[in-house]
Each structure stands twice: as C-alpha cells, then as structure tokens.
C-alpha cells in the first residue's frame, strides 16, 4: 500500500477524522446518562431514607443543589424501593396547582398526576412492580371494585416528586407545608 498524497490524502484525512469524531460524539451522548454522577437521583438520594418525605430547599441564588427549580413552587420527594412490596403515595390537595411525578433513577418521569386527578381531597396512587400490579388486580373484589389508581414502575427503585404552586409569595410557606404532607407508605401486599 502506498501512502496517498496531495489532495486525495487530505480528503482521506478529513473524512477519517470526521468519521472518528462522529463515533466519539455518539458514544459520549449515549453513555452520558449511564455514567453521569450529577443526575437528579444522585443529588436527591443522599438526602433522605427510603419512603421518607424530604422537602427541597427553595430555589435560591446561594443554593446550587438542583438547577431549574421554580421559586414559586415548593418541592419535596420520597425515594422508593419496590423490592419489599408496593407503596401508597398520597398528597392532600392544597389551594392551588399541585402535581406528583414518578421517576426511575434515570431518565424523565414515567408517570405524572395533577390535583385535577385527585379525589376526596387528595392525589393518591399505589405504585408497584408490574408483578405487584397484576397481583393486586387479581385479588380485586368484584362486589366492591377498588378506587385505587395503580401504577406499574418500570424499575424497582426511583423517587416520587411533588410540586406545589404558591399563588403569592406570602403563600409559599403554606405550599411548602403542603409539599411535606406527601406520604409514601408501604402497602400491604395481597395474599
């Protein structure tokens, strides 16, 4: 093989560099979500125990824990592990908008509910593995059908996030208190 020279060599050089650059770029983009150590779950997980509701600090110039938080919205979360069975997620509805979103450790929310989906003064759902959800459905009583909303989680671990909107600056403490009223409690598995 003779080394290409002149213009043909340059074209080859540019083409080879571009192909390599494209491969490097694709690998970086695809691998980043898997290896990133600064994603939301990595930031939240150390803050609280399983099933414990943890209020997040209000968006503030001095606090760089979570970017992109709305200063008008109070947030709290709880972490779950469905290995021990399903959990019941419940949050009372406050005076303005509130929503609950369900997340796996990686990627966007897999489910979300707003206060519009609430009934009897609360947003409520049972979160389980797909097997849990099937088992619960199999034990449903036909005479008195359940009113539970059941959500199948794609992964065993993850977190539930609540956002409560405050209509006025003076109502923020109230929204914060509402956010803290999120509960994630173990739900008895069907027998």
């Amino acid at each position: 093989m003779t080394a290409p020279s002149g213009a043909r060599g340059l074209v080859l050089f540019i083409a080879a560099s571009a192909i390599l650059a494209a491969i490097v770029h694709l690998v970086v983009v695809l691998v980043t979500p898997v290896v990133a150590s600064g994603d939301a779950y990595a930031r939240l997980a150390p803050l609280g125990k399983l099933n414990e509701t943890v209020a997040l600090p209000r968006a503030d110039p001095g606090d760089h824990m979570l970017p992109d938080a709305d200063p008008a919205v109070a947030m709290a979360f709880c972490r779950y592990d469905l290995g021990a069975g399903p959990i019941r997620v419940r949050a009372p509805i406050g005076r303005a908008f509130s929503s609950i979103s369900f997340h796996s450790p990686r990627g966007p929310a897999f489910y979300a509910l707003t206060d519009r989906a609430g009934a009897r003064g609360a947003i409520e759902a049972v979160l389980g593995t797909p097997d849990d959800v099937r088992a619960l459905a199999a034990h449903d009583d036909e005479e008195s059908p359940t009113r539970d909303l059941r959500i199948a989680a794609p992964e065993r671990e993850g977190y539930v996030m609540i956002r409560v909107f405050s209509e006025l600056p003076s109502l923020y403490p109230e929204a914060e208190a509402d956010a803290k009223r999120l509960t994630c409690a173990p739900e008895p598995a069907p027998r």
């Binding site: 650059a21 770029h25 939301a40 968006a59 209509e167």
Partner: protein, 192 residues
C-alpha cells in the same frame, strides 16, 4: 512512518472534534426536540419517555428534573425577539400575553439555570400576583434598576435567561401547536 503519523493525527483530531461537539451539544437544548416560538425555545419531550438521547444526556449532566407531560411546559429565552443574546446591562419588556395555562411563572436565571441574587430578592413573577392592565395584558420589565410596575431585577451584568413555565397547560407535548402570537414578546428597550 508517514502512515503512522497520519493515523495518530487522525485519531487526535477525530477525538478532539468528537469531544468538542459533545460538550457543545450537551450544554444546549436538544437540536432534535426544539420548537421555536419567537424568542422562546421549548424542549417539547424533555419530560416524557420520548425524550431523545441528547435531551437525556443533557439532563443527566445538569440534574434538572423537567416538568412531566401533563404537569406543564417550560419555555426558555436566551435571546430577545431580534435574536440578540439577553444582556444584563439592557432593559427588556416582556408581555403582553402568555399561552393558556392554569398558572404560569416567569423567572430570570443565570446561564446554568439558577436564580441571580438581587437586592430586591425577587427572582420571578407568578401569573397570580402580577399587575395587569384592564384587558388582562401585562408588562414585566427586566432591568438592573428599579422600574415601575412589574419589575424583574437583573442582578448581574452578564448574560442571563428567561424561563416561562406553564402549569397545567392544555398545550402539553403539542408545543408545536402554540400560536406564535400567544407567547410573550421579549423586546429590548435600551442598554446602559
């Protein structure tokens, strides 16, 4: 020998270009999921399972928790209506209308998404607290110095971004369906 040098050079250039392209792509909104609406950009699927690999990689790095589909939608402006980057030394007028939503908020953040310290301690406005004209139209003035009406302080002279969040909006993932005229205009009034 010449072959060897060429191969090393190709590897070095390819590797460097690949990393530069990645760093650029992951510090900007995904080019494949971006809807433009005047000065505003929307990453329409950031909060859904349809998020593309660029969006996923960016979110994994920043730690952001985007609003899920159904919760709401976030619009970001880094430029004014004429395409000039937002500059902390200028005065901007934002309004007069926002897309349909139960509530919206408009906040001012630094280029990486955190509020900017200012003496007034105000980082944004809610649709439910804002002063409006009789017909419901509003004007928010972003400026470093005190302004009458809805003053959104600019705390630092550098570049900044405006974030408009629509909560419980009927628009959801169909961001492309928003009428361009429904988004607030971002008009530069002047610069110091």
């Amino acid at each position: 020998m010449a072959d060897f040098v060429r191969i090393v050079l190709v590897c070095a250039v390819g590797w460097a270009l690949g990393l530069i392209a990645s760093a650029f792509a992951l510090s900007h909104l995904s080019p494949f999921d971006r809807v433009r609406l005047g000065a505003w950009s929307i990453e329409a699927h950031a909060g859904s399972n349809e998020a593309d690999p660029y969006t996923r990689a960016r979110l994994a790095r920043t730690g952001e928790i985007p609003l899920a589909i159904g919760e709401g939608l976030r619009l970001t402006a880094r430029e004014d209506d004429e395409g000039r980057p937002l500059d902390g030394r200028c005065v901007y007028r934002i309004g007069p209308r926002a897309p349909a939503a139960r509530y919206w908020t408009l906040s001012l953040v630094d280029p990486i998404g955190f509020p900017v310290a200012n003496p007034a301690g105000r980082y944004g406005f809610r649709s439910s607290e804002i002063l409006r004209a009789g017909d419901g139209d509003f004007v928010i003035t972003a400026a470093a110095d005190v302004q009458p009406g809805n003053w959104l302080p600019i705390g630092a002279p550098g570049s900044f971004a405006l974030v408009l969040r629509l909560y419980d909006s009927p628009l959801g993932a169909t961001a492309a369906a928003i009428e361009p005229s429904a988004a607030p205009r971002v008009t530069r009034i002047g610069c110091a």
